[in-house]
Amino acid sequence: MVFGRSLTETRLISSANYVRTELPTRLAHRIRDMQTLPYVVVTNPHISQVYELYYKAFESLRRVREINTLDDNERFCKKISETLQEHLTVIPKLAMGVIECRDLMKAEDMDKFMNTILRSRISRRVIAEQHLALTETFNSPWHFPDSPTTTGASHEFVGEVFLKCNAKEVVERCGEEVRALASVAYGPSTSLPSIKLSGHLDATFPYILSHLEYIIGELLRNSIQATVEKQKMGGTASALPPIEVTICEAPQHVIIRVSDQGGGIPREILPYLWAFSKGPRSNERLENLHHVPKMAATLQEVRVSQDLPESHPTSTGNSSATRHLHDTSLSSLSSRPPNLRLGMGLPLGRVYAEYWAGSLEVHSLEGYGVDAFLQISKLGNKNEQLTMRASMDAV
């Protein structure tokens, strides 16, 4: 018993030190990237705020001394979770900055910068959150029934881990959420298209739930919006065509296809579909980004109740409650009202999909509808493998 405990403690400490050195290094690379952007871009208020946040995080984390005890780790975890919390607003801020600066830099360079910084962000947050989750597991009551329950700050921010996601459940849940938001926004009298599922409904795979929910949420959101708005423009009272979601499972991957009849993507938008720096609709997007709920606090008002996933590895009453309060950087985006169109769903979704060795592809039948294909790779889900992936990526 004693032996088991100290072995895990050693692992925890070594994980902490790994995180302690990785985070500042990666932050430094991104800070350097930003420093080499044109001056006029970094002086933009939004980009400059992001720069300040990164710098502050870097300064704070690099001063952390070597971690040798559990108390050291507690302090460290507190610091990390504060930083994670502060950085929740980075994505909308970056997006706003990019749109405002769209004439100041070449579009390809801008997109490249955004892709790099967002991918790096995923890797840093995953590393940090894995460690927080490890700490929380170590500290949780069932693990060591005799130890006093620690109420460290790590409880306020539970890390995200890979969960076994069942495609059907995730799609249904996201579908419910998006429809609920849509009916609030469009009014209860507007009919919404139904979501029909077919295919290999039992498919499960390990994934970070909030990432998956974000991507699928965005795809469903696009489909529902397009279908409703096409109906409005067409003026017919005929039944709304359903959105057809097909799940296909193969040994190496799972593909989720979302097919709608929303009229397709207008040709003038098509070249800017995957770009962060937008085309004809930039000004609207910018306006909307200002309205994204930035702080975690305001989230409670907007968000509709969230169901809990059924399979959670440490499912005790305690952690399910903490899960409910847990905010991820994507959750503020996932729960925004549908008329808040940011123009980021597809490019950001693709960053997440590709980070986990998957892909996101869209085919438009102009005048009819759109097919979106999310491909998910079924790789291992062990923590070690995760850290290796993140370090292999070394962004």
């Binding site: 290999h200 097909t246 098509l270 085919h363 102009e366 005048g367 294909f373």
Partner: protein, 514 residues
């Protein structure tokens, strides 16, 4: 001993021995026998008179020049040609640097024509001579326009072929195609020095065009076979690059020729009052273009055709549903669409049947782009959007549609055939004989091999391209070439374990400004 070295090229391998004997009988000494082509070197005594060039075994005889100088020059030229493959330098003046050919065209002619730029063809060009039935004058104008384009296009192709590696063009199949092009150009050259201004000339000219179309109808299978046989001597990338350019150019050349032929047949001077085939039967046609083509009817006719074959081979007849907007019509070239749809349906039907789900209908969705409203984005934006949309596929070879903003049609073919496996997926756009390994048998050479696959022996519409593609499988890259020619494209999405979605985007040819 002092003698004159001759390089003798024989017709076939079997002719080498008799030809050698003939040369020896006339006093020659065989110094070398070639293995890469049927031929040999023979040294004839100086001042001897040789007659073996007339022998039926012998293709051609060339006198070798100064020995030392030639070898170096020959080597340099061959390597230079290989390296500058993409640039098509002008052919040298030396006879021996050309692959053996049975037609002689003055090198100057080819060089002059090949140096002229390719005209950027627009569909408006093809229809500017008027709606059928054309008057005599309009017919002449169409003939002369065709005459101004075709020789240059043929010369460019000859140039490209001459720049392939020597060993490749020595292959009998490739060489045959090369000779076809030379022959066609030689039949057109007499007309280039004058304008067509009387009916006799025009009729003869049209007959020449008809022969041209006929001669080249088997180009693709023959080239395919040739490149397959030469796969050890040229890289798949080079083959793909050559074929992409060549086939796209071929589409344009045939279109120009066939357009004139169709306009000729339906023109006023040539209408046969006894046959019912007048232009008024098909008022929507302008030559080979149908301005009111309904994709759904093409889908149905191709579907019937392909499912017949399926029934013959598999005993099952797959079914299909057309949804979306089946009544859509747009302006397009029917034979092109027939070819593409036939190929795509072949893939879909075969996959469906072989995966055991032949009871599930294939769903074909036809989507028509809405007409863009006035006051939409400026034409500059739109053009930029379209160019980005076309990406790298757009090139000088593509014909510009009537209007850039012409509404198009997208056709989605969705099957439940199990999808394309990840190992095969990267190769679906190659001319598949580039993915043969050395150990593979050539299809059709061993009895019972894949070449006897019934679905591959379908003669596709569009000039008999499909007739003997025995197992060579390039319906997809060729279909894409057709689609992209007018600014469209094909995209394939595989859901391995479930089925496939194929998106065929077609750029409409728009409304003809009368």
């Amino acid at each position: 001993m002092a003698g004159v070295k001759h390089i003798v090229v024989c017709k076939t391998k079997e002719d080498v021995e008799p030809a050698k004997k003939l040369a020896q009988d006339q006093g020659g000494e065989i110094t070398n026998t070639y293995s890469i082509f049927p031929g040999f070197d023979v040294v004839m005594p100086k001042d001897s008179v040789t007659t073996f060039a007339d022998s039926k075994h012998i293709e051609s005889v060339e006198v070798d020049g100064e020995r030392s100088l030639n070898i170096h020059k020959q080597n340099r030229l061959v390597s230079k040609r290989y390296l500058s493959f993409a640039r098509h330098p002008s052919p040298s003046a030396h006879k021996w640097s050309h692959p053996p050919s049975s037609t002689t065209i003055a090198d100057d002619d080819v060089a002059n024509l090949a140096n002229q730029p390719l005209h950027a063809l627009s569909l408006a060009d093809l229809v500017e001579h008027g709606r059928p039935p054309l008057s005599t004058d309009a017919l002449f104008s169409s003939a002369n326009f065709t005459l101004s384009l075709l020789p240059i296009r043929l010369a460019h192709r000859i140039q490209a072929l001459r720049n392939l590696p020597f060993i490749v063009v020595s292959n009998p199949n490739i060489s045959k195609i090369y000779n076809n092009y030379l022959h066609s150009l030689s039949t057109l050259l007499p007309y280039t020095s004058k304008t067509i201004s009387n009916l006799e000339d025009e009729i003869r000219f049209t007959a020449v065009l008809t022969e041209l179309v006929e001669t080249h109808s088997q180009t693709i299978p023959t080239l395919a076979r040739g490149f397959l046989e030469c796969r050890k001597y040229i890289s798949p990338d080079d083959v793909t690059r050559f074929l992409d350019e060549h086939l796209r150019a071929r589409i344009g050349t045939r279109l120009i020729a066939e357009q004139h032929i169709a306009l000729h047949v339906s023109s006023q001077p040539h209408q046969d009052p006894q046959t019912s085939q007048t232009a008024y039967d098909n008022p929507s046609y302008i030559g080979v273009i149908d301005t009111a083509l309904q994709p759904a009817s093409i889908v149905n006719s191709c579907g019937n055709f392909v499912s017949e074959i399926c029934e013959l081979k598999y005993g099952v007849r797959p079914t299909w549903i057309i949804d979306g907007e089946p009544s859509t019509t747009f302006a397009y070239v029917p034979v092109h669409l027939e070819y593409i749809i036939t190929e795509l349906l072949k893939n879909a039907f075969r996959a469906t049947v072989e995966s055991g789900r032949s009871h599930e209908p294939i769903v074909i969705t036809i989507a028509a782009e809405p007409e863009s409203p006035r006051g939409g984005p400026s034409s500059v934006d739109r053009r930029r959007a379209i160019e980005k949309d076309l990406g790298e596929g757009a090139d000088e070879n593509a014909i510009k549609p009537f209007e850039d903003s012409a509404p198009g049609v997208t056709i989605r073919i969705r099957d439940r055939g199990g999808g394309i496996s990840p190992e095969v997926l990267p190769n679906i756009w190659s001319y598949s004989f580039t993915t043969f390994s050395d150990a593979d048998e050539l299809p059709g050479q061993t009895p019972g091999s894949g070449g006897t696959d019934a679905l591959n022996v379908i003669s596709g519409a569009g000039g008999g391209e499909g007739s003997s593609i025995a197992g060579l499988g390039y319906g997809l890259p060729l279909g894409r070439a057709y689609a992209e020619y007018f600014g469209g494209g094909i995209a394939v999405q595989s859901l391995f374990g479930w089925g496939s979605d194929v998106y065929l985007r077609l750029k409409g040819l728009g409304k003809l400004k009368d």
